[in-house]
Amino acid sequence: MQTAVIVFPASNCDRDAATALEKVTGKAPKMIWHRDSEIPADVDFVCIPGGFSYGDYLRSGAMASCSPIVADLVEKANKGLPVAGFCNGFQILTETGLLPGALMRNKNLKFVCRPERLVVNNANTRFTSQYEAKSIVTYPVAHHDGSYFADDATLNKLEKEGRVVFRYADNPNGSMRDIAGIVNEAGNVFGMMPHPERAVDELHGGTDGLGLFKSIIESI
């Protein structure tokens, strides 16, 4: 099982993601530099980590979504490669169009960092199979642009198809319908604003995130 983490110049959760992946798979992920043009063929799962990719000027994730490595990622994701984006990774995935909707400035306009309780809305995905349906997990959030927006038709479709994977128990940012994480139609591309990779260590604040990484490994 080979995992990989894409590293943009101002990714800052790349090490955190790598630490979590290594903890669960026992093997260090490949770190893929943003200027590389291809995801290596032996990679089974790609993580887009949190951070500020290219400084997040213009809009969070916008510039990263135009990078060469992301072009290759989009192509491979469309062919079924499992991909997860956390925080900035989620923003990048929506900017590429792999996931619907957009992440806007938090409703109160402030950066928010705190542990957040989340409801596992669908435990039937390859990202959440290790959780009980409707169980509550705590992951930290840390973002300025995390308010999920999509038009009603998209939101209805997401809900009908069970693609709202996580919901906030106490919405921290104004996301529509309390959406914290969603999956694409094919079920292989997942994004969420909270940080599961920051919830894999008792000393650091809890291990609720392990289930998510174990689910991914299980599914491959």
């Binding site: 110049p9 101002a10 090490r15 949190g50 500020f52 400084g55 000027y57 402030k110 950066f111």
Partner: protein, 579 residues
Amino acid sequence: MAKLPDITPEIVAEHGLSEDEYKIILKRLGREPNLNELGIFSVMWSEHCSYKSSRRHLGKFLTTGDRVIQGPGENAGVIDIDDGDAIIFKMESHNHPSYIEPYQGAATGVGGIMRDVFTMGARPIALMNALRFGEPTHPKTKTLVNGVVAGIGGYGNCVGVPTVGGETNFHKGYNGNILVNAMCVGLARTDNVFYSAAKGVGNPIFYVGSKTGRDGIHGATMASAEFDDESDEKRPTVQVGDPFKEKLLIEACLELMATDAIIAIQDMGAAGLTSSSIEMADKGGVGIDLDLDKVPQREEGMTPYEMMLSESQERMLMVIQPGKEQLAFDVFEKWELDVAKIGVTTDTGNLVLNHKGKVVCDIPISPLADDAPNYDRPHVKTEPRPVLTAEEIHETQDYNDALVKIIQSPDIASKRWIWEQYDRHVMTDTIDSSQSGGDAAIVRIHGTNKAVAITTDCTPRYVQADPYEGGKQCVAETWRNLSCVGADPIAITDCLNFGNPERPEIMGQFVGAIDGMNEACRAFAYPVVSGNVSLYNETNGEAIPPTPAVGGVGLIPNLDFFKTLKGAKDGDTLILIGE
């Protein structure tokens, strides 16, 4: 280039140099300086760079100890935390810029202190901030708090270093002068610490980071405005920070530091290119020739004066090992930073600046440091306020009401609104932070079972009542806070914020506080390894309360043994220790 104006007494005064100081310059040069040279002397001899009012008093501090690898005098202090690991840390003020433009002022304060730390080879692992604002009801306070907090978060969060703690006070004494003190703690290997002394002759000098613009060229620019027509276009501006660039700069510097390419390195802080080049040369006992045409420039038509005095952010200067130039270019280009070889070290002992084929400055370096003014400013001891005994205080009739009042007081009230805007978890080594309201933050050394504890403390009203006792108390409080979480306190950094040192009563507060702090440091064998002085914090003759902020760092050798506020249960026994 336009002709430089003759140096008049007005120009000298605009540069903040006294007549006596100017006379020393004339004597050492044996001639009149030109405007570029005058500008360089003025920034090097400014309070900020020369510590002319404070130097002799800072010299009293205990600065050595078993674990001290580097005390004051470098970009930051370095302590040994065993196993080949070193902690590098410092605190610094960005008070005035934060009052003018709270977001950018605070942001660039965070950027500056991080550069001081990674310049020495450390990866920043934690940030703290000590903030003082005016009364909550003052019309400016709300905007200032909002902007400062957003700026600190905006910069630190983006770079990806957790902001794990701090302190915030409100007092009318800060209505016209807020304090924004930022502290950064970094992790390095003891055998890979970098210093600023430029060694060797003929070694290439590299400039890296952002381009140089006309940022923060202070009042002195009025003099330069006389010889250009577009003075409006060139008006001095507040520095704007670019945390994205800083992140790249950290990664690039650390990557190059893993090789043997760097002989010396210095960040460009206040007085950018001037102080960085002169400090490196002075410490290494060499001269420096710079070709200003090679300096990456953001704007057209920049004069040597502007380039030397610019405070553009996110820039570094380094002396590179000959033969390693290409390696340096490759690393910085990989991280998409501007990089240029702008000069060489020489054996002349002079700073020589070339611009468009002309020598525009040629001055000996040693007087800039050796002859820097060092004043023994008159000071009068602050009469300590009479001690208030418990008997003199009326017992409250309503304890509930008293409790509510205490909880409501802005100094005591929860600071959650502030620290929730700071990413406290990034790097996934934060064991305890503002979130739990503990006495000190705890940050694990990545991949190990040990941690550092960090705290900042100062109670200005104590220092105001009695500078000596108050100074002692600041240091003692950090010691207690570190001990409380189970850490062995090791060393402190400080940020001494005071009013106008030319007033004997202010100077008295300053000297008293230092003596008190030093007394505590010696009693605990708890040395000062770095620090910063911010004077002239006053408006219309009203000085801020004396505020010597202290940042303490301790070691938790084994994370199986530490304590936080978490875990108290119903029925636990409370014990009060001490008087």
